[in-house]
C-alpha cells in the first residue's frame, strides 16, 4: 500500500503545546516538509526565538539554539558564518521580529546573510497573553489596546515582507497563509523555495506566514481561521515581493 501522508522526518512524534486552531503547527509542518524535501535535516541548525515559538527544539528533530527576544537573526548570523555548510533558519513571531528585533532582522537582511527566516504573524503577542503587536490591525482590540489600535498614536501595522523586499541583500521575500488548502499548497511551494535558495547560497530569504491565534483573539478555531481570510489577508496581501531569480 502506498503511504500518501505521514509525519515529516524532521518533526518529532510528539504532541505540541499549541492551542486548538493555532496555525503554528501547520507552519512547523511546512518547514519540516521543506527540510525533508531537500534532505537537510541532518545539517540544519534552527534558531528559536522568544514566545510560543521557543519550543522549536521540542518539535523539530534538528539542533537548535535558543535566542534572546528578537535577536535570532544575529544568533543565526553567528552560527552561519562559523558553519557556512549548514542550513540555518530562524523562526520568529511578530513581537519578536517586528518590534524588539527590528534592528537585527533589517541588518541581517541587508548583509544578505545566507539564512532563512520564518516570520509568523498572528497580529498579537501570543505567549504573554494577547498584547498589541507591531502587526496588530487598526482598531483591533488586545489586552493593551482595549479601545482598539489607534494608528494615530500606535502607528500602522508593519508590512514586513514588503519592507524587507526593498533591501538589496534580500534574495527572496514572500508572504503566505495557511488558512485554506489552496494557501497551504502555495505556502509549501514558497517555503520550499526559500530553503532551496539557501542550499544554492543565493542569500537571505524571508517568509512571512499569516497565522491565527484563536485564544488571544477570543475566537473559536473556525472563526479565527476565517479572520485570516477576512481581515489579515486584505491588509497583508499574499505573494512574492522579491525574488532575485526574477531580477
Amino acid at each position: 500500500m502506498k503511504n500518501v501522508f505521514a509525519r515529516p522526518d524532521s518533526l518529532k512524534d510528539v504532541q505540541t503545546h499549541f492551542c486548538p486552531g493555532c496555525h503554528h503547527g501547520s507552519v512547523h509542518r511546512l518547514v519540516a516538509e521543506a527540510l525533508d524535501e531537500h534532505d537537510l535535516r541532518s545539517r540544519t541548525i534552527g534558531v528559536a526565538s522568544v514566545g510560543c515559538s521557543v519550543f522549536l527544539y521540542s518539535y523539530f528533530d534538528v539542533d537548535v539554539i535558543e535566542s534572546p527576544h528578537g535577536r535570532a537573526p544575529a544568533v543565526a548570523t553567528g552560527a552561519k558564518r562559523t558553519r557556512p555548510d549548514r542550513i540555518v533558519f530562524t523562526y520568529q513571531g511578530d513581537g519578536d521580529l517586528a518590534a524588539i528585533g527590528t534592528s537585527e532582522i533589517i541588518h541581517a537582511a541587508n548583509r544578505g546573510e545566507d539564512i532563512t527566516v520564518i516570520f509568523v504573524n498572528n497580529t498579537t503577542y501570543g505567549m504573554t497573553g494577547g498584547q498589541m503587536a507591531p502587526t496588530t490591525l487598526p482598531g483591533q482590540k488586545t489586552s493593551t489596546s482595549p479601545y482598539g489600535r489607534d494608528i494615530s498614536k500606535d502607528g500602522a501595522p508593519f508590512r514586513m515582507a514588503e519592507l524587507l523586499s526593498h533591501l538589496d541583500g534580500v534574495a527572496y521575500s514572500a508572504r503566505v497563509a495557511v488558512n485554506s488548502p489552496r494557501n497551504v499548497l502555495q505556502a509549501k511551494k514558497i517555503i520550499s523555495t526559500a530553503f532551496r535558495y539557501q542550499v544554492e547560497k543565493k542569500g537571505f530569504a524571508f517568509i512571512e506566514a499569516l497565522a491565527s491565534c484563536p485564544t488571544n483573539w477570543g475566537m473559536k478555531p473556525l472563526e479565527a481561521n476565517q479572520r485570516v481570510a477576512d481581515e489579515l489577508i486584505p491588509y497583508f496581501p499574499l505573494g512574492v515581493y522579491r525574488n532575485t531569480a526574477n531580477l
Partner: protein, 360 residues
C-alpha cells in the same frame, strides 16, 4: 607561515589583545565601534579575512553579543570587545550565554561613566563585571591585565578558562592599559588540555543526539538545579583558578591592593615607600572573579593593614573586606574616573604614610 611565536613586539594593549586572540585560535570577531577599544576591531578586520576567519561589524552591541552567542554555540572560539556603554548593552546576551553555559570572550576596555561618561581610564565597572552584570544571578570569569604583556597572556587564558568552565570570560582593562604601548613577548599559545564540545550545535547527523543550546528551564526543579550546578562551578573556579601577584609583601606592615592600571601606580608608590624605610607591599589580584580571597586572608594574618586603591569611589574594597581576617583594617583611597583623575605615585605615597603611622 609567519608565526608571532616568541617575538618581542612593541604595540598597544588593545593590539596585544587582538594578537592573542589569533594565537588562541579565535577566528570569529563581532563588534561595534567605541572608544577606547576600537584598535581591537580594526586589527581583527584586517587580519581575520587573511586567516579564513570572519569579522562582522555588527549593527549594535546587542547584535554583536548575539552573533558571539550563535558562533560559540557551534563550538568555535569567538569574541567581542567593547567599553562601558557598549558592555551595558551586551548584558542581555551575556546573561543568555551564562544561562546556556556557552563559552566566549568579552573584552571590556573600561571608560568613565555612568552614562556617556568619558573616555578616560576607569575601574568603576568592577561591580558590573564581577557580579555578572545582567539579570538572573550568574558570574563570569573576569581577568584584569596590568600590562601589555598581560593583555596578551590573559586574553589567551580567557579563551582556555572559558572553554574549560563553559562560561563567558571577560578581560577587564581600562583605557590606560588598552591605549598604552609597551614591549612584550609574543609567547606561543600554552598547551592546555581542553575539553571536547559534544554539546555544540552543528547539525544533528544520523545517530547523533539532538543538541539544544538554551537557557529556558520550566520543569519542576530544573532551574534550581541549574543554579546549584553553576554555584558548584564557581566554587571550583575559586579553588583552582585564582591568580594574583605580590610585591614586597614578605615583611610588609601595610599592603596596598589594586588591580589593572592602578596597580602599576601603586607598585611605584610601594618602591618609593621602601626607599624611605616604610614596610609597604602590594597585592594585585589578576583574577577578579574568582577573587583571590585566600591570598588576602593569608596576608591579613601577617600585615597590619590594607590600603585599597581604585579608580572609583570603592567597589573592589567590598571583596577585600570580605576576604581579610576579621578586624583587619582596610583603608581606601579612590579617585573616581574622569579626565585628570589618575593618581600619581607621590599622591599614593602620602596615603601610605598617613595610614602607616596609625597602623604600624
Amino acid at each position: 607561515m609567519s608565526s608571532p611565536n616568541s617575538d618581542k613586539k612593541f604595540v598597544k594593549g588593545n593590539e596585544a589583545v587582538a594578537m592573542a586572540a589569533l594565537e588562541a585560535g579565535c577566528r570569529y570577531y563581532f563588534g561595534y565601534p567605541i572608544t577606547p577599544q576600537s584598535d581591537i576591531p580594526e586589527y581583527l578586520s584586517r587580519e581575520l579575512p587573511r586567516l579564513g576567519g570572519e569579522f562582522i561589524q555588527a549593527e549594535s552591541e546587542i547584535g554583536a553579543i548575539n552573533m558571539l552567542l550563535g558562533a560559540s554555540a557551534t563550538g568555535v572560539r569567538a569574541m567581542t570587545s567593547s567599553s562601558g556603554p557598549g558592555i551595558s548593552l551586551k548584558q542581555e546576551g551575556i546573561s543568555y550565554m551564562a544561562g546556556s553555559e556557552l563559552p566566549g570572550v568579552i573584552v571590556d576596555i573600561m571608560r568613565a561613566g555612568p552614562g556617556l561618561g568619558g573616555i578616560d581610564a576607569s575601574q568603576a565597572d568592577y561591580f558590573q563585571a564581577t557580579r555578572g552584570g545582567g539579570h538572573g544571578g550568574y558570574r563570569i570569569i573576569v581577568l584584569a591585565p596590568s600590562s601589555v604583556q598581560e593583555m596578551y597572556d590573559l586574553t589567551m587564558l580567557a579563551f582556555d578558562l572559558s572553554d574549560i568552565y563553559r562560561m563567558p570570560a571577560m578581560v577587564l582593562a581600562d583605557s590606560v592599559i588598552g591605549q598604552m604601548k609597551e614591549s612584550f613577548t609574543c609567547n606561543p599559545r600554552p598547551k592546555v588540555a581542553l575539553p571536547d564540545k559534544p554539546w555544540a550545535v552543528r547539525g544533528r547527523a544520523e545517530g547523533e543526539p539532538q543538541n539544544i543550546v538554551k537557557s529556558l528551564y520550566l520543569g519542576d526543579g530544573e532551574m534550581e538545579a541549574f543554579h546549584w550546578k553553576m554555584h558548584a562551578r564557581y566554587q571550583e573556579l575559586a579553588d583552582n583558578e585564582c591568580r594574583w601577584e605580590e610585591t614586597d609583601t614578605d615583611d610588609a606592615e601595610l599592603v596596598l591592593t589594586a588591580f589593572g592600571s592602578t596597580a602599576r601606580i601603586a607598585r611605584t608608590a610601594v618602591a618609593m615607600a621602601r626607599s624611605e624605610g616604610i614596610k609597604a607591599g602590594l597585592l594585585r589580584p589578576v583574577t577578579l572573579f574568582p577573587f583571590p580571597k585566600k591570598a588576602y586572608a593569608a596576608l591579613s594574618e601577617r600585615c597590619k593593614c590594607f590600603l585599597d586603591v581604585e579608580l572609583s569611589t570603592g567597589q573592589m574594597i567590598d571583596d577585600v573586606r570580605l576576604s581579610v581576617a576579621r578586624d583587619t583594617e582596610v583603608h581606601f583611597y579612590g579617585r573616581p574616573p574622569g579626565a585628570g583623575s589618575l593618581p600619581t605615585p607621590e599622591e599614593l605615597l602620602l596615603q601610605i604614610k598617613k595610614y602607616y603611622r596609625t597602623c604600624a
